[in-house]
């Protein structure tokens, strides 16, 4: 993995953000909503609206508006929310923090569960445990978040009263309370990935365990434990890294639903309410941030892969 490879990947991130920015800006420009009306509300007089439009540069040509916006974004200024009249950046980034807490915990849970499940299924292939894992994963990939979320709230929170049903407390304020309120959302957010990744791990590991070098390792008299963990797992998990990184995209989507249902003030919810309120600056910034997160995660994954798997020669 050479410096130029890393350079290339970084360049790619910027290209990605560029494309996304154009896309988002384009879409938000055509959205059926008048920013000025959004801002002033239904009681605004025509001249007040016109004044604001000129002030917001809504009468400039699109490309000029894009330039203004983009240059702002580059300097970390995402404009002001039409809904709250407050700067978008700070609000969204604190929201992002919340979402990342959720996402990271979900990822962690996923890894803790999915990988062992996959290994179990692969090792005891065709046995009961394999079937069980397979069944679970089929269910898992087939339940949309909003269904799992509703079920979770009804059962765990309402009927059994084990956990708080919703709401969010920053971990910094109240660690235990915050965690309690995160348990359900995290579980819901990770279900789909657990199902998917455990399947991936299984199939990868099954393939690996049929390779010559595993046979060789066995015939060298190594203990089954060492064969599995030192020789098998390593190679099986390599491709899983990429899978997980790609799934992060899905996770970010799922988080939108989870945050909506569990009233978590994350970036997903900001986006939802922004979309409902046609709060263009927030939509634009939100999508940009999500895309950035996704690309960075995948960038990290690629580096990790390249670092772990010395075989690949990057230009």
């Amino acid at each position: 993995m050479s410096a130029s490879y890393i350079l290339k990947r970084i360049a790619l991130i910027f290209y990605t953000l560029f494309v996304v920015s154009i896309l988002v800006f384009g879409i938000t420009q055509i959205l059926p909503a008048d920013a000025a009306v959004m801002m002033l509300g239904e009681n605004a007089t025509q001249d007040a609206l016109d004044a604001l439009r000129t002030q917001m540069g809504l009468n400039d040509p699109i490309w000029l508006q894009y330039l203004h916006w983009a240059s702002g974004v580059v300097q970390g200024d995402f404009g002001t929310s039409l809904r709250t009249g407050q700067p978008v950046g700070p609000a969204l980034f604190s929201a992002l923090g919340t979402s990342l807490t959720l996402a990271v915990l979900a990822l962690a849970l996923m890894l803790v569960l999915a990988v062992p499940m996959g290994i179990l299924a692969a090792v005891r292939r065709g046995k009961l445990s394999d079937l069980v894992v397979g069944f679970i994963s089929y269910i898992g990939v087939s339940l949309p978040e909003f269904v799992t979320a509703t079920l979770a709230v009804v059962l765990v929170a309402d009927l059994w009263g084990l956990l708080p049903p919703a709401g969010y407390i920053p971990l910094s304020e109240d660690l235990w309370g915050g965690l309690q309120r995160l348990i359900l959302p995290v579980c819901v957010a990770s279900v789909m990935m657990i199902a998917h990744v455990s399947r991936m791990v299984r199939s990868e590991l099954v393939d690996v365990m049929h390779t010559d070098y595993i046979r060789a390792a066995r015939l060298k008299g190594l203990t089954p434990r060492r064969v599995l963990f030192r020789h098998g797992l390593r190679n099986a998990l390599l491709p899983t890294i990429t899978i997980v990184a790609l799934d992060v995209g899905y996770l970010l989507g799922g988080i939108i639903v989870v945050e909506e249902i569990f009233s978590i003030p994350g970036i997903g919810r900001s986006l939802m309410s922004a979309i409902q309120a046609r709060d263009l600056p927030v939509i634009q910034a939100g999508v940009m941030i999500m895309a950035a997160t996704y690309s960075i995660v995948n960038f990290a994954a690629d580096l990790m892969y390249a670092w772990l798997d010395k075989r690949i020669q990057y230009d």
């Binding site: 060789a216 390792a217 008299g221 190594l222 020789h231 390599l238």
Partner: protein
């Protein structure tokens, strides 16, 4: 043979695999014995069950394996009665194994050192530090120049030969009583293979370990093994002292095998009149791979393309068979691809006087006249097309001649000795040899004047190979088409080629008449190559 120094004794051992259809017998009443310091060669074609034998001894059998009550003794230990735990103690320490392809038998993500040391740690109970040191010694011992660095390397960072040396070092690491060699040189280039064989010989002499040497290559066994057992469809049809067995083979199958092995002396082509003007002349044909990456051009970095083949020049007369030999990566296939318009190339190819400077110049006529047959028949036949469609294409494209398409396909099937009923089958319903015959049929259906055979027999068994070659030569006689025969099997090519071109790292080393290839004034690389080749079995004299 006295009981005392018998290392491996297999007594009336039978093995079958349970499948939906029922039980498939792979080994039947096997009796084998290997003494200390002895090398037993086990020869057989694919499906003969020779690998299953190895697995059986290693007690590493698939779940659906069904064994009879036959016994397998390692010294005084009855391996059949050993628990999996006990076996894992025995494997690697008392009996170890060397595999066919070092590229796949080494874990790609672990350092060579670790893969060697782990055995010592497991069986010799060494500390990692000790094991590492010991490992270095072992690597030095198998003739690796820089053992310390080797220990640190990843498999992909070293050559095939070096890998196999590491594997061998691992096999010998715990001074086992028995080592099973499963085609240890098949995946290697001729010269490397020779070096590995020499190494094996030396170590064998030194340690006096008993060896079971599994191979499909009679010639090779005739040189390495003390005794040879011939395995056919799970039955040992003949066993004996190597010299004995090769001088006077008893069993028909053994005879067939020996006969099938290519023998340079027995030429299969008639001489050619040297006068005729060339059908094809290749002039300074160079093939480069790779495109300058965008980033590089942005950063103004200069970019060195990978050279496939460099300024190759050669002629081919009508009806001539030109052999091209060389290691993998020597550029022989690249040249073939260029001549069939599968690669961009620089330079000039003149076909029947017509200049061809690039793909655009390869008109329908050229396409018809020049056909190529690939190494792997199952890759070169579209899995979703029936034989009928596969063979119909050339007829549809260049179908001069009488008879309906189907008639001509059937006729061609007969010529390649396949039943007409195959016409409605899918490729995956045919055996490897049969598939290759289909590929040949496809090539000849357009009545080509030049056929390029790219390693077409290397994926096939000895006997199958022989019959395919026979077929090829027959077609050569009938059609008078010229062949470019690309192979790494020098014995074979000496048999069927008028002239032999030797390639090395993309360069054409030299071209020589087949019968003069052994002359002393050949280029050094050519001589090296020929020395590396094991002379064919039957010429072996004890």
């Amino acid at each position: 043979m006295t009981e005392t120094n018998t290392v491996l004794r297999v007594e009336n051992y039978s093995l079958a695999y349970e499948v939906k259809a029922g039980a498939v017998q792979v080994l039947n009443g096997i009796n084998l014995a290997i003494r200390r310091g002895e090398i037993l060669g086990l020869v057989g074609e694919s499906g003969s069950g020779k690998s299953s034998m190895a697995s059986a001894i290693m007690r590493h059998l698939a779940g659906n394996a069904r064994e009879n009550d036959g016994r397998i003794w390692l010294g005084e230990t009855d391996l059949r009665t050993q628990s999996e735990r006990q076996m894992s103690e025995i494997r690697g320490s008392r009996v170890s194994m060397v595999f066919q392809d070092p590229a796949t038998s080494l874990n790609p993500t672990l350092r060579l050192g670790e893969q060697l040391a782990e055995v010592l740690i497991r069986h010799q109970k060494l500390t990692p530090a000790q094991a590492w040191a010991e490992g270095e010694a072992r690597l030095a011992h198998v003739g690796l120049k820089t053992p310390r660095e080797m220990m640190q390397r990843m498999p992909h960072e070293v050559s095939g030969g070096e890998k196999q040396r590491v594997v061998i070092a691992t096999a010998f690491a715990c001074n086992p009583e028995l080592i099973i060699f499963d085609e240890p040189t098949t995946a290697l280039d001729v010269i490397t293979a020779r070096q590995i064989l020499d190494l094996f010989g030396a170590l064998q002499q030194e340690t006096g370990v008993a060896s079971l040497y599994i191979s499909h290559d009679l010639a090779l066994l005739s040189q390495t093994a003390d005794r040879v057992a011939v395995l056919q469809k799970g039955v040992i049809v003949e066993e004996g002292e190597t010299a004995q067995l090769f001088r006077a083979p008893q069993h028909a199958y053994t005879k067939a095998l020996i006969a099938a092995a290519p023998q340079p002396q027995r030429l299969l082509v008639q001489p050619l009149d040297a006068a005729a003007k060339p059908l094809v002349s290749v002039r300074d044909v160079t093939v480069n791979y790779g495109r300058k990456p965008l980033l590089d051009s942005l950063l103004r970095r200069d970019f060195a393309p990978v050279v496939g083949s460099r300024a190759v020049t050669l002629d081919l007369r009508p009806g001539e068979v030109l052999g091209i030999v060389g290691e993998s990566g020597s550029g022989k296939s690249t040249l073939a691809k260029a001549m069939t318009g599968l690669n961009r190339f620089e330079g000039l190819i003149e076909f029947d006087g017509k200049p061809v400077r690039g793909l655009s110049d390869m008109d329908a006529e050229y396409r018809r006249d020049v056909q190529i047959i690939f190494q792997h028949p199952d890759a070169s036949l579209n899995p979703r097309q029936r034989i009928s469609e596969i063979l119909a294409r050339p007829v549809k494209l260049y179908g001069k001649g009488q008879g309906t398409t189907r008639e001509r396909i059937v006729a061609m099937l007969e010529r390649v000795r396949l039943p007409a009923s195959y016409i409605d089958r899918y490729p995956h319903e045919l055996s490897g040899g049969e598939k290759q015959r289909i590929a040949i049929a496809r090539a000849f259906l357009s009545n080509p004047r030049l056929v390029i055979c790219d390693e077409i027999t290397s994926a096939l068994d000895v006997s199958v190979q022989a019959s395919v070659i026979e077929l090829l030569m027959e077609l050569h006689r009938d059609t008078g088409a010229a062949y470019v025969f690309i192979t790494h099997d020098i014995n074979l090519v000496r048999q069927i080629a008028h002239r032999i071109a030797v390639m090395y790292r993309g360069d054409l080393v030299e071209i020589a008449d087949a019968e003069r290839i052994t002359d002393a004034d050949r280029a050094p690389y050519t001589r090296q190559l020929l020395e590396a080749v094991t002379p064919p079995a039957s010429t072996h004299s004890a």
